[in-house]
């Protein structure tokens, strides 16, 4: 069988057509996605808008470039993300209102994207399309965000990075979590699963709760659960209605550090498996022929864009990848990260995984020990979603004329000659046609070295002397600030 192709361009850039944004368009074309989109197609661009506070999420300009490309092909694009489980106590994408506000804070709006930004699973997260997944290794059904399931075509545009639970945040996770409705996410996270659910399987140590007086945050132990399943009694007992737990993951960050919960590796592993099955659900809902994957492997942060912060990247920028196979594209990124050196001073160095050849995400991405960067990928091979084995195809730059400024691609003279005749921005009429008041010559070398070899006050007519004070007005009294009495001060005090 022919290996799936992964189209790749590295992260070096030395001209407009090798900018990473334009390389993203280049691999889009190389992978044949332009042939996939027909005139009139509604095309979902599934991206992650980033939790409030994160900074490594995909820049809006990448999404814009893909949206422009889809419009150029006659398609009707929209960008989208989905609502989340409640997760941590102060989630910023839990409802459509949260999601849109966070997306706008992070720079995603119709003004920046050139197309609408939607919450694909509605206001609460229950707008979805249920699909059976009989081939699933663990899941047998999935709930796909409605706007994604309804689209004619889908471009899964992923910022590739690590992930605390998923270990890697690649195309498969963008499908298996990102394209699931909130209802679907509870399925993938093993809510109420008899073996892998937190409620059923976590070892609970209420005896480690120290009581209200000793624990100033005790109210958060009650308030971290959207169903109100935790209760601190008047006699300082912590109670948990564990049989009702839906695995929202809101409590872990409070219970684990206190030793009230023991880390639950099986829940994490099962979720990583379920991600692959839910990803298959998306493919079944949309159709394999209607979906393409682009991974932008830059700012490869250890944790996901859902974390609310972004640490120093584990490895330098890797490049951009495109494929019709979500398994192949993620494996290609994992391999590239493995072969890369760790970023000096990053978590990769602190974890001792910075040498080329070391797996970067088992320890750099995963929140608890024993997780594997291969679990989701391998499960996706088992359920028939794709192939780890792949062929890397180096895409070639398309030429800089392909990437002129889209609103006005005319060359400089055509655009500006007439305008400059009317509104000349250069003051030709001043200083003998030289335009500005400048010294004819200065000692350039004096300010180039480690030491400054010229006196700070040697330059002529300078009002600001770099000494913390502002000294305008020596030659023009109108610059002088007023003192309290309303008179003019000769100089501001330092």
């Amino acid at each position: 069988m022919e290996k799936p192709k992964v189209y790749f361009m590295d992260a070096r850039s030395e001209s407009p057509d090798t900018s990473l944004i334009n390389k993203t368009v280049t691999v889009f074309e190389a992978a044949g996605f332009d042939n996939m989109i027909n005139k009139g197609d509604v095309v979902a661009i599934k991206m992650h808008c980033g939790e409030l506070g994160s900074s490594a999420y995909i820049r809006p300009a990448y999404v814009r470039a893909i949206a422009d490309k889809i419009k150029e092909l006659g398609g009707r694009p929209f960008a989208c993300d989905t609502t989340t489980q409640t997760y941590g106590t102060w989630g910023s994408r839990v409802t459509e209102l949260d999601l849109i506000e966070t997306a706008e804070r992070n720079g995603f709006s119709s003004a920046t994207l050139g197309c609408p930004f939607l919450s694909a699973d509605g206001y609460v997260g229950t707008s979805d399309y249920r699909v059976d997944v009989p081939e699933g290794y663990l899941l047998k059904e999935a709930y796909i965000a409605q706007a994604i399931a309804a689209a004619d075509k889908v471009i899964v545009l992923t910022h590739f990075k690590g992930h605390g639970m998923g270990v890697i945040g690649g195309a498969l996770k963008n499908l298996g979590i990102g394209c699931q409705s909130k209802r679907g996410k509870f399925n993938v996270h093993m809510g109420r699963h008899p073996e892998y659910g937190i409620g059923d399987s976590t070892v609970f140590h209420p005896e480690n709760f120290k009581g209200k007086e000793a624990d100033p945050d005790w109210e958060l132990l009650e308030n971290c659960c959207p169903l109100g399943l935790f209760k601190v009694t008047d006699d300082d007992k912590l109670l948990w209605e564990r049989e009702k737990c839906i695995n929202c993951l809101g409590c872990g960050s409070w219970m684990n550090p206190r030793g009230i919960f023991e880390p639950n590796l099986a829940n994490f592993d099962a979720t990583d498996i379920a991600i692959a099955d839910a990803a298959l659900g998306v493919i079944k809902a949309v159709g394999k022929e209607n979906i393409g994957f682009i991974n932008v492997a830059v700012d490869v942060s250890p944790k996901c864009d859902c974390a609310g912060f972004s640490d120093l990247p584990l490895v330098p920028h890797l490049g951009v990848f495109a494929s019709k196979d979500p398994v192949a594209i993620d494996q290609a990124c994992v391999n590239a990260a493995m072969h890369a050196p760790g970023t000096p001073g990053s978590l990769a160095e602190e974890m001792g995984i910075d040498a080329p050849g070391e797996r970067k995400f088992d320890l750099g991405g995963g929140a608890i020990e024993g997780l594997s960067e291969q679990t989701t990928i391998n499960t996706a091979v088992v359920n028939g979603l794709g192939s780890r084995d792949h062929e890397i195809v180096h895409a070639q730059p398309l030429g800089r004329d392909r990437f002129a400024f889209p609103p006005d691609p005319r060359p400089t003279k055509v655009r500006f000659a007439k305008m400059f005749e009317k509104f000349q921005p250069f003051p030709f009429d001043k200083h003998d046609g030289r335009g500005y008041n400048r010294l004819d010559k200065v000692d350039i070398d004096a300010v180039k070295g480690d030491n400054i070899t010229v006196d700070p006050h040697s330059h002529q007519d300078a009002a600001y002397h770099g000494d913390g004070g502002w000294h305008p007005g020596d030659d023009d009294p109108s610059f002088l600030p007023k003192n309290e009495a309303g008179n003019k001060d000769s100089k501001t005090k330092k």
Binding site: T84, Q85, Y87, G88, G164, M165, D217, L249, G252, S253, W254, N256, P257, R258, G259, F261, E262, P263, F268, K303, C304, C306, A307, L347, E350, M351, G352, L363, G366, A367, I368, E369
Partner: protein, 94 residues
């Protein structure tokens, strides 16, 4: 035992060895008792504490090869960092 706990234990063994140096024994014993409080916490059961354990281990190795004030200070700085971080919520799971 997890990787972080394992590395922390190695670091603590190094500190025990260093405590035989009379110039630093009080400070080493103080550090050890502070680490005893933290070692079984989720911070070290999970991967969250691995960078700190790694840093502490490297600092103790440096101190063993060259026992001096600066290197002892470095150990104490990491122990303080562990005290500050070990109970903090926010382990990233999602």
């Amino acid at each position: 035992m997890g990787r972080a706990q394992d590395l922390l234990e190695k670091a603590m063994n190094n500190i025990k060895e260093l405590s035989s140096n009379t110039d630093f024994s009080d400070r080493c014993n103080d550090g050890l008792s502070r680490l005893e409080v933290q070692k079984d916490k989720f911070f070290f059961q999970s991967l969250a504490g691995l960078p700190s354990a790694n840093k502490l281990f490297k600092a103790t190795e440096k101190m063993i090869s060259d026992p001096n004030e600066n290197n002892m200070n470095e150990i104490e700085t990491v122990i303080q960092e562990i005290d500050d971080k070990a109970d903090a919520p926010g382990t990233v799971l999602t």
